[in-house]
Symmetry: C2
Subunit: 329 residues, 2 copies
């Protein structure tokens, strides 16, 4: 049988476990050109929350009863496409379930020799998001002050480390003593701000005596407003996420566009899914940085598909340390 | 004697004539390297309103009793610098007054053969603002749909015409039947929206069946929110002004940065004062477009320095048709 986690009701605010249902269904059969994959690892990410709301977004939202969207890596069980054979490890949008059928062309091979779950974070979507957000959108130059929000998170921690590799001074914003320690000591940001205990406006001012050249924004809202107040002329703001807004019934406008005139600044949104033509450049560079220790990562692993909603809610609550993953089998 | 219009009290909301005072002072004497200029034409512009508030901006605000900041063209009366001699026509930040002393290096010669007031708009700051906002910030390509707010205004009308020259489909937003007629028939936008009588969201949808590739924004607020809802992937928003905010005691945040993720869009602020190194490229191109009829302009002229506050308030109220100017002498 195939166990599947579906959206049972549309969450209001922070999702509850009762918003999800664990269902059983037949294991699906792959058609021509399709592959059946057994999930090994799956990813819980902030963007999944926005798929659960009815607000306009870049992707189709979930309907009640749909399996929750997620990237996962798994083992090919059956293949009707010459590109895959049983035993291969593949990455795809497989969802929160034990088994999924996917078009072979929508999957990517995970090469042997790397831990497969790395394809879900540092060598996958989160690493690539950080890579293109920093290098293609924010484009920092050596000496720039780069501020990252959600800096202990899966994307933010890598964004900060890539900026550090580029010769920038990096300042991370995160919540709580444990995450601050990660930001400062493990991910080696030059300075760290605790949005839960610091006066963020004052702290940004102190941590960025030369102002802010780049802001890699995962959160939006009040934290971001504090950073906007310290921008330099010519600053670049990469909008990666706005997690402070995802649990709101109706997001509040949080930004004064006139700020961009004052600082002749640029604010730009991006999606990693727009860069597949450059994954072949980015993944080997990320892999090299992981191998030589320039990029470090942490994982918070939850065991069991049935515990995925709990892992997801915990991640939205900031309980994870590094990339939140579910080990399915 | 030198008559000067000063800020007598800080305006709350829309300025009133009583916020300004007409004072008399000695005609100043130029020191070494300085020039005395007698004002002929001066400019009233939305940015002057923001100089009157205490909000953080890109330029120093006015103090009570200061002559109001303004670009003006005038005739050189006395010169202590070899670059100018009496009778020359010069452009500079001379303020709302009959006479001003300026460093020769801060002035620009207005060549004989053009009407001198054109150096205050289509061949000066407003034309250059439109030029760099469209060509350097928004970067439209032929076939793009370009929406301009305050499209009957001094900057917006030129921005739309430059986009038209670039082969774009242009849609102008303005208020009232007379301005709509200007936008459509005189400035030759492909379509026009009346924010005073149309449902702006519906009207943007109808006027932009292929979505919005470029938004040249002079206003912010609700009108801009209606445009943001129809952006295309990869859209560019040039933030030229946010005049809907200038009269507010405290501007409201009006924008959801998450919009930029949805459309992988870029929002960028700019100031014409950052482009002096490119004026030599831009002014001859603007002049050529004016000469061959590709760029048309209108002027609303008020006579008399003493009527400058009224002209300024009328411009903020949208009573002018085209560039608002004061003829001083």
């Amino acid at each position: 049988m195939n166990r599947r986690v579906t959206m049972a009701s549309r969450p209001a605010g922070l999702p509850r476990e009762s918003d999800f249902a664990l269902e059983e269904a037949e294991v699906p059969s792959p058609g021509p050109g399709e592959v059946l994959v057994r999930t090994r690892w799956l990813s819980v990410d902030p963007y999944q929350r926005s798929r659960m709301s009815t607000a306009h977004s870049y992707a189709k939202g979930l309907e009640l009863g749909d399996v929750v969207t997620a990237q996962a890596v798994g083992e090919v069980v059956e293949s009707n496409d010459p590109r895959y054979e049983p035993g291969d490890v593949a990455l795809g949008q497989l969802g929160w379930q034990d088994y999924a059928v996917a078009r072979a062309g929508s999957l990517r091979q995970v090469p042997p020799g790397i831990e497969p779950q790395l394809a879900l974070h540092v060598l996958g979507a989160t690493g690539l998001t950080a890579y293109f957000g920093i290098l293609d959108v924010a484009k920092p130059v050596p000496g720039d002050t780069v501020v990252v929000s959600a800096a202990a998170g899966a994307v933010g921690s890598i964004a900060g480390q890539i900026a550090r590799i580029m010769g920038c001074r990096t300042v991370g914003i995160a919540g709580g003593a444990e995450k601050l320690e990660d930001v400062r000591d493990f991910y080696r940001f030059d300075d760290a701000i605790d949005y839960k205990s610091d006066d963020v406006r004052e702290a940004v001012k102190n941590a960025c005596p030369d102002g802010v050249d780049v802001y890699f924004d995962n959160v939006g809202g009040e934290i971001s407003a504090a950073v906007h107040a310290r921008l330099n002329v010519g600053a670049r703001i990469a909008i990666c996420g706005q997690v402070s807004q995802y649990n709101l019934e109706r997001g509040q406008p949080t930004f004064h566009p006139a700020t961009l005139i004052v600082f002749r600044a640029r604010m730009q949104g991006f999606l990693v899914t727009d860069y597949p033509h450059r994954f072949g450049e980015a993944i080997p560079r990320l892999a090299r940085w992981v191998m030589n220790g320039d990029i470090r990562y942490r994982e918070t692993v939850t065991d069991g598909l049935e515990n995925t909603p709990r892992a997801f809610i915990g991640m939205l609550n900031g309980e994870n340390r590094g990339k939140a993953l579910v080990r399915v089998a």
